[in-house]
């Protein structure tokens, strides 16, 4: 499977908003970066939609 969620850590403000909306709990905010559990992420794109700066790109 192609990696279909991409978090630009140079743009990310590590605020955790994406973690709060992830329906699967696949994101984790570790101090200054966000980690993705690609086994559970269903690339629904909600995180991409709500990121205040647009640091997340989900492609389907």
């Amino acid at each position: 499977m192609l990696v279909s969620i991409n978090i630009n850590r140079y743009k990310c403000g590590y605020c955790g908003a994406c973690v709060g909306v992830c329906p699967k709990g696949s994101l984790e905010l570790v101090e200054t970066w966000v980690e993705v559990d690609e086994n559970t992420c269903m690339t629904c794109g909600i995180c991409d939609r709500i990121c205040p700066v647009g640091a997340i790109e989900v492609t389907k």
Partner: protein
Amino acid sequence: MKDRYDVLVIGAGPAGSIAAKTAADKGLTVLLIEKRQEIGDPVRCAEGVSKEHLKKHVEIDKKWICADLKGARIYAPDGTKIEMAEEIAGGEVGYVLERKIFDRALAEKASKAGAEVRVKTRAIGLIIEEDFVKGARLMQLGKEYDVHARIVIGADGIESKVGRWAGIDTSLNPIDIETCVQYLVAGVDINQEYCEFYIGNDLAPGGYIWIFPKGEGKANIGIGILGSKMGKFKPRPVDYLNSFLEKKFPHAKVVEMVFGGVPVSGSIEKTSTNGLILVGDAARQSDPITGGGILNAMDVGKIAGEAAFAAISAGDASNEKLEEVYEKRWRSTIGHAIDLSLIVKNCFINLNDADLNALAFSLKDVQFERMSLLDLLHALFKANKKLLWDLRVLFKDAAKEVVKSKM
């Protein structure tokens, strides 16, 4: 290192620190953990609070106060201004805090009360035995270990995982979150005694722009947009904020950037289970209309600390016991205010700019004695019999609530 406590508190924001302090004050052994290496930093907040309400929790310390507020001004899309200022002795009704200092001071209070504090320590999972939460797996400086506790309090903010690990789904839908960007700006000529709010669908869809003075020509200027009004190919909060600043404060210097999300879902169904209590943003207890969550987090943090003591004293940390000593108590107090705000939020996010302008116009000459949502609503209803008749479907429930609380 000690690995057994009465209470383990996860997250050292205002909710966690007050919960830890309260539990420690009662004589319980408490561990308060925070995944960041510095408590309170980076900030995810506009830092505004009501003065009277804050005083119920802590003695005011000038070290963490940046500005004293006299009142608020709300601007409708067409520029119509509503002013809410309290004419009380001293004239100050609110504060703009320095949360970096404030949050750390609260954690210090917990520590002084006897709680142990560990920073750069992240909860990475819960210990669950026979359907009871019994502690958590932690990671500190790359090393993993278990800590057992009779009650775990999840105070882990917007990004909360603690509830989910125990089977409580706290994930927010886009309509349940305001996503925000804020700049601390310097070199601006800003009235240091008023906070300002700008509403309008072109300015901040489903949210608002705020200006909170921070002393000496500085201010927090930020924006929150409702997640459901956002989209992959639409402008982001950061874009809206940049255009607002360009227009209103072209010479402002940005000295700090803040990003964040605030829950505006209203009360969620469950905030505790066997051995576990959720509190603050983790329990989605922030105000759905203003997005304010500091004082709610502190209020409920206190209730959570007391509940932990009551449950542990009774030797019963079951779901049923926590319903009685925790859920019931916060829902019957702060829960009501949250419910009312949710109704109002659901009205406001559906208003177009013409409606907003008309409502603001009807309040333009009203003298407010208190800076409260309830008073604002009451005035709205008084001034807008005709308009509200047209919007009655939207406002029906809010009207009922106002009538109830004015009687």
